[in-house]
Symmetry: C2
């Protein structure tokens, strides 16, 4: 009964997210006259993106790229949705620690569980993606992948972001939804390549971003195939299998996609090597950093932030020909729920 109810709320939440995007970008009928990026202000960032797409899709251009090679990769946290005041998956993990704490009195004195129980965000955030994966593994090993997906769906439907008092999945970036749809209409395959947990992201990536499970690459824990009373199941294990971050993002791309993307989008130094690998291939390439410089509508942080630190990327972007998107200047709106322009 509880699972059905969670599913029900998830569907309602999905409908409300889609309804808020007016019109939902990936439902738009193809129309050459319509602006594919209505939330992108005229400027060098918008021009760089549109020039790139125009060139690689034009069969008469020397920069033309055949459809199968049109692979675009996106970081998730801070690139497709917000990541403040803590990674949303960490908020999930902390909520799960609180929910399960009565069965684990030892967590009262044991880190990082203690920090989760006390709401000590600084300690919690210090460990990055690995710490999140370890908390999720510790709290959910023994669950089947289906059971875990139901727990995540329930959380997404009920938890609310502290600043905006909305479901976390409402905090996706409208301009990036438009960009994803624009690329797909231009026969790109769009992938997430994120340090976030793959079992977490796949629960919402298809309904929120239009990115199916097989195009989500992320960090992952160990997994075992078991047959319980004749019913096969995939059961989450405590160990860590792969952390998809930094120099291991190109490794994840090689393993899970098997070809070099031609466009990469990130927001932190954890995405540096993904942009480097993508843009050092031959032919036309696009590397884009989303710069969080909008404290009013979202957050402003970069070089000194423990979450989403962007230092080397800012320093090297100009020389490498990467586009830096100013959320404040380049986007007419940030979230779908802000309404029209």
């Amino acid at each position: 009964m509880k699972r059905l109810s969670a599913l029900h709320w998830t569907i309602l939440a999905a409908v409300s997210v889609l309804a808020a995007c007016a019109p939902a970008p990936d439902r738009q009928s193809p129309n050459a006259a319509a602006d594919p990026l209505p939330s992108w202000r005229e400027g060098s960032a918008r021009t760089a993106v549109m020039d790139f797409v125009t060139t690689v899709t034009d069969p008469s251009s020397p920069g033309f790229v055949p459809e199968p090679e049109r692979i675009a990769v996106f970081d998730n946290d801070g690139t497709l949705w917000s990541e403040q005041p803590i990674y949303f998956q960490l908020a999930f993990a902390a909520d799960r620690v609180r929910a399960l704490a009565p069965e684990h009195p030892e967590w009262q004195s044991q880190q990082p569980f203690k920090a989760a129980l006390e709401g000590d965000l600084e300690t919690l955030s210090a460990g990055g993606h690995r710490a999140i994966l370890e908390i999720v593994a510790a709290t959910h090993s023994g669950l089947t992948t289906d059971e875990f997906a139901a727990v995540v769906a329930d959380w997404l439907a009920t938890a609310r972001h502290p600043r905006f008092d909305r479901p976390y999945a409402d905090l996706v970036y409208q301009p990036m939804l438009e960009l994803l749809a624009y690329l797909r209409e231009s026969s790109f395959k769009t992938y997430i390549v994120s340090g976030g947990g793959v079992d977490f992201m796949r629960v919402f990536a298809e309904r929120v971003y239009g990115i199916p499970p097989e195009q989500v690459v992320g960090s992952m824990g160990d997994l075992a195939y078991e047959v319980r009373d004749g019913e096969p199941a995939l059961v989450k294990q405590p160990g860590i299998f792969f952390i998809d971050d930094g120099p291991d993002k190109p490794v994840g791309i090689a393993r899970f996609i098997g070809r070099r993307p031609i466009a990469a989008f990130g927001n932190s130094d954890g995405d540096f090597q993904m942009l480097e690998w993508t843009t050092s291939g031959s032919g036309r390439r696009l590397g884009v950093y989303i710069h969080h410089d909008d404290a009013e509508r979202e957050w402003a942080y970069d070089r000194d932030s423990p979450i989403g630190r962007l230092q080397r990327g800012l320093d090297e972007a100009p020389a490498r020909g990467w586009t830096v998107v100013s959320m404040r200047e380049d986007w007419t709106r940030v979230y779908p729920f802000e309404g029209g322009m």
Copy 2:
């Protein structure tokens, strides 16, 4: 120069493979009147496959499956191409040991290199997919993924199968090429899920099977991202990262695809769990074993074979509702080069 020449031969080989399939199944224009499976003889196997596809693609059927859920997974060795007298990737690995032996005098007395140098197929085959991966890792660590792909392409273009005196990639099964094309025309995504090395298979899977790199799941070694003189590269490492076989086939499916397939095709007990996982989901499902019972046109082996052993699968297929395809009875031809029916 050598690389260009290898590429040249690869393209020639590809053209000859395609030319031999008359007409190439995946280039066929959709035609409701044409038989999608001309090399499949009338009988229960053909009927099971066609009934399944008709049902899941019929919106008015209770067994209808929406397009995004139409995932079909195929083992490679013994299911899409032959695997005798040894796995083709093992033939590649042994050839590489011979080619590199002058630089490694220690291999003369060290297994499995000694077996490769002496042509001792029995010893070589005993270790299964893990042994192959270990030989490939030992002989190719330090190479970039691009360099390794060029070595594989060169081998595929020049090495010849001992029995048929043809390039190894000629030994694909014509009925399976038709089946892959038929499923894709029915809006399936077709995946390889194989114990073979992913870096090996991705070199030929797209041109031979029409399966792009991102839909090839396989075993894989460790990989490191390095920047050499400003040029980033992915470099093969000696360690083993993942063996995609037996109970780890469903694990590989969960990690790389992220949803449960509705159809699975294999030929050995190493595919048992993949068929079990696929067919135990709800709704219409299809599990198929290719049975090697045609010593004349291909090979005949099952319960006692060290390669592609099929024992539990044969025993349990009837009770589980899995289809067993007799290569001898159900296929009018095995290889594309056999010509028309």
